[in-house]
Each structure stands twice: as structure tokens, then as C-alpha cells.
């Protein structure tokens, strides 16, 4: 890596916007990143990403067929060491961006990613995610309700009317993609935490669909993060969803003695 390349990569405001977008949320695909630069073609965004990658500021990893982009703050640290701490100059706007990038949790930010393949159509899967009669059969007995427009509230409610999860719709593209914030209300510690985010993606693959759930935007390994990751969390919900869609019957489980499952928790 040449520092020349890094400086050159950082000289462009569009590329700095892309770095900011990755600082905001690491691990994005091209299709998500091009939303950060609405005035630019996808080809233009690809070109900028290639320059950032060549400079070592962005690293990529394949996730299935998607190429995910991650911020790499190391070259910026080198610049900071060489050109900022030594001269203690006032920070330029560009350098202020860099400092934020350095302080970002970037790759360390925890997330859960689940993938499950279900024999169903995208439409039927979408219905299973958005119809309260169906969520009740696999989602801890809760009914989902929402107007499904960005900004609308989304709630998961027990039959007695208790709201267990509340959030807001961020994106809803029927049969393809649902993004909403997630805030669990039935636990004091989790209720006090900032809402996290769930992204449901449906990829049709012949007679089967891949359902990918990414739960991220946690402030570290919070109580919510740990709770949804345990054996009664997403693994259970997604297994139940698959069973309901493929067999028509809900999946019932009974908790074993605590020590038997402790190893898996």
C-alpha cells in the first residue's frame, strides 16, 4: 500500500461519502452502497469502490453471490501517525472524516447472520413474515402488525395485547426485502437499549427460497444481542418458520433440563 494512493483515494468527496456509509454500517453490498450516492450511476460507484480497494481503505469478502465491503482503517492510521500527530496541524475536513472512521467500531461491530433454505415461493414467504396469523405459529406466539410503509410502526404482540417488540419499518419491498428496527420491551435491560435492526432478504432459488436474516446495529454485545443469539432466539424462530411453511404444522419444542442445553446456549 502506497500512502500516495490513500491520499488520492481520499481526495474525492464521493469516495469519502462511501467511507462514511461504511462507517455507518460495515459490510455493505454494492446495491446498498449506491444508495449513498444517489446522483451517481452504479458503474461510477463501482469505479470508486475499486479505487478505495486498491488504496487498501476498503476490503471485500464474498457472501454467497454478494460482495461485501468493509472499512479498513489501517491506512488512515498510518496517515494520522505520519502526518497528523507529528505536525499537530489543525484538522482539515477530510481528516475529520478520517478520525471518525478510525473511531468507528467497523469490523468489530457484532451482528447475527442466519441463512435458511425453505421450499416455498417468495410471495408465500413474504406472507409468512408479514401476516399475524402466520407469525403467531412460529414467532413466540406473537402477531406482527404494520402498515408496511417506511416510517410505519411494526409490532409483535401476544394475544393478550402485550406488545413484546416494537420498531419502525425502514424498507419494505414485497417478496424481496424487509428492514425494520427492533426493540424488545419485555425485559428492563433490553428495553433500555437503543433499537437494533433486522434485515430480511428473500432470494428465490428454483423451487426453494433462501431467507437471510441479518440482525445488526447493536451497541456492542448487548443483552438484546445475546438474547436473540441464544437457542430460543432466531435459530428457534427460523426453524419454526421453515417447518410451518413446509409441513403446515407448527414446531413445538419443550425445554430440556437447563444443564443439558447449557453447552449449546
Amino acid at each position: 500500500m502506497e500512502l500516495e494512493d490513500v491520499f488520492r483515494a481520499l481526495a474525492d468527496p464521493g469516495r469519502r461519502t462511501l467511507l462514511d456509509a461504511l462507517r455507518e454500517r460495515d459490510g455493505q453490498a454494492l446495491g446498498e452502497l449506491d444508495e449513498a450516492l444517489p446522483g451517481m450511476t452504479r458503474f461510477g460507484v463501482m469505479k470508486h469502490l475499486r479505487i478505495l480497494e486498491a488504496a487498501g481503505l476498503v476490503v471485500t469478502r464474498r457472501d454467497g453471490r454478494r460482495k461485501l465491503h468493509f472499512l479498513n482503517p489501517v491506512p488512515i492510521q498510518l496517515i494520522a501517525d505520519r502526518w497528523i500527530s507529528r505536525y499537530a496541524q489543525p484538522w482539515t475536513t477530510a481528516m475529520a472524516d478520517l478520525k471518525s472512521a478510525l473511531e468507528a467500531p467497523s469490523m468489530a461491530s457484532p451482528r447475527h447472520v442466519y441463512e435458511v433454505y425453505i421450499r416455498t415461493t417468495p410471495e408465500r414467504l413474504w406472507q409468512a413474515l408479514t401476516d399475524g396469523d402466520l407469525t403467531q405459529r412460529y414467532y413466540h406466539d406473537t402477531r406482527v402488525a404494520s402498515g408496511w410503509q417506511p416510517g410505519d410502526p411494526i409490532t409483535y404482540t401476544w394475544t393478550d395485547g402485550t406488545v413484546t417488540i416494537d420498531g419502525e419499518i425502514v424498507e419494505a419491498d414485497a417478496s424481496r426485502r424487509l428492514v425494520h428496527t427492533f426493540h424488545f420491551t419485555q425485559d428492563a435491560e433490553q428495553a433500555a437499549e437503543r433499537p437494533s435492526r433486522c434485515t430480511w432478504e428473500i432470494v428465490p432459488m428454483g423451487e426453494t427460497c433462501l431467507l437471510r436474516l441479518t440482525h445488526d446495529n447493536f451497541d456492542g454485545e448487548t443483552s438484546t444481542y445475546r438474547s436473540v443469539g441464544n437457542v430460543k432466539g432466531w435459530s428457534f424462530i427460523l426453524s419454526g418458520l421453515k417447518t410451518v411453511l413446509e409441513t403446515g404444522e407448527p414446531l413445538h419444542i419443550q425445554e430440556p433440563a437447563a444443564e443439558a442445553v447449557g453447552r449449546n446456549a
Partner: protein, 153 residues
């Protein structure tokens, strides 16, 4: 930094014995494990291989622990593509939970995010989804090619 590993958990409506059979019976693995047939006597220290029906070897390893119908641990060296990655460890654990079982698969021992780590990352969810479909419905889960609409993302 902790060594990378994969942990997958899925609930399957089945008895532990049925699930154990699904994991260890070559006629069943062929349905959901990328067409591969398991071959092992499951005695500790014995070889364990996964082979295509034409005999070509996908995975080689050794049985490290076998406690039917609860726990199977074996080493894992991928042979489906050339690599110099060291052997890793796969642990299958079955926990009965009423009419269903929790099946937990952990794949560990990677020295880093090497070729094997990357390539099994997408594979395990397919295998476990297919295993669940087979055991719960008696049918094969056929996973096709992704539709073109998303391929450019």
C-alpha cells in the same frame, strides 16, 4: 482475537435416533449433503469419508468421538478442491427438546479465514436446511440457481 469458527443451530421435528440416522446413513446424506455419501464404521479412530456416488472423495477425516444418538465429532479435510488448509473439526450435537431436537453443528479449528472456512460458510446452511426438510417431510429440498435479478448486487 478468537479463532474463527462456524456454529449453526437448527430445530428438527424428529427423535434423536432418527436424526442420528440422518447424519450417519449414506442413503440419507446423499439427499442433502451435496450428493455425498458418508462412509465410516463410526468407531473412534476410524476413518470417515464423504464420497460422491462415483467414488470421488469430497471430505476425509477421522472419528474423534461417537456417542449415538447424541454427539459425533470428526476431523474434516476438504478434498473437493485443491487446498493446503490444515484439518478442522466438525461437532454434531443432538439435544432432545420434546417432540423436536436441537441440532447444533460447530465447525472449528480454522487457523484463520482460509479457503475451507469461506467455502463451508455457505454450504452448512444448505446442508442443514436440506437435512431438516428430508427428516420432516421425507423429501429432498432442491436448491436451484439464484434468480438473475439479484445476481448483479
Amino acid at each position: 482475537m478468537t479463532a474463527p469458527q462456524h456454529v449453526f443451530q437448527i430445530y428438527v421435528r424428529a427423535t434423536p435416533e432418527r436424526l442420528w440416522q440422518a447424519i450417519t446413513d449414506p442413503a440419507m446424506t446423499q439427499v442433502y449433503y451435496f450428493n455425498s455419501r458418508i462412509d465410516s464404521d463410526l468407531a473412534v479412530g476410524s476413518p470417515i469419508t464423504y464420497k460422491q456416488p462415483d467414488g470421488s472423495v469430497d471430505i476425509e477425516g477421522e472419528v474423534l468421538e461417537a456417542d449415538p444418538p447424541r454427539r459425533l465429532v470428526h476431523s474434516f479435510s476438504s478434498r473437493w478442491a485443491a487446498n493446503d488448509d490444515p484439518p478442522t473439526t466438525v461437532t454434531w450435537e443432538i439435544t432432545p427438546m420434546g417432540e423436536a431436537c436441537l441440532l447444533s453443528v460447530s465447525h472449528s479449528g480454522f487457523p484463520g479465514e482460509n479457503t475451507t472456512y469461506q467455502s463451508v460458510k455457505d454450504g452448512w446452511p444448505m446442508i442443514l436446511s436440506g437435512l431438516k426438510t428430508l427428516v420432516e417431510t421425507g423429501e429432498q429440498l432442491k436448491i436451484g440457481e439464484p434468480e438473475a435479478a439479484e445476481a448483479t448486487v
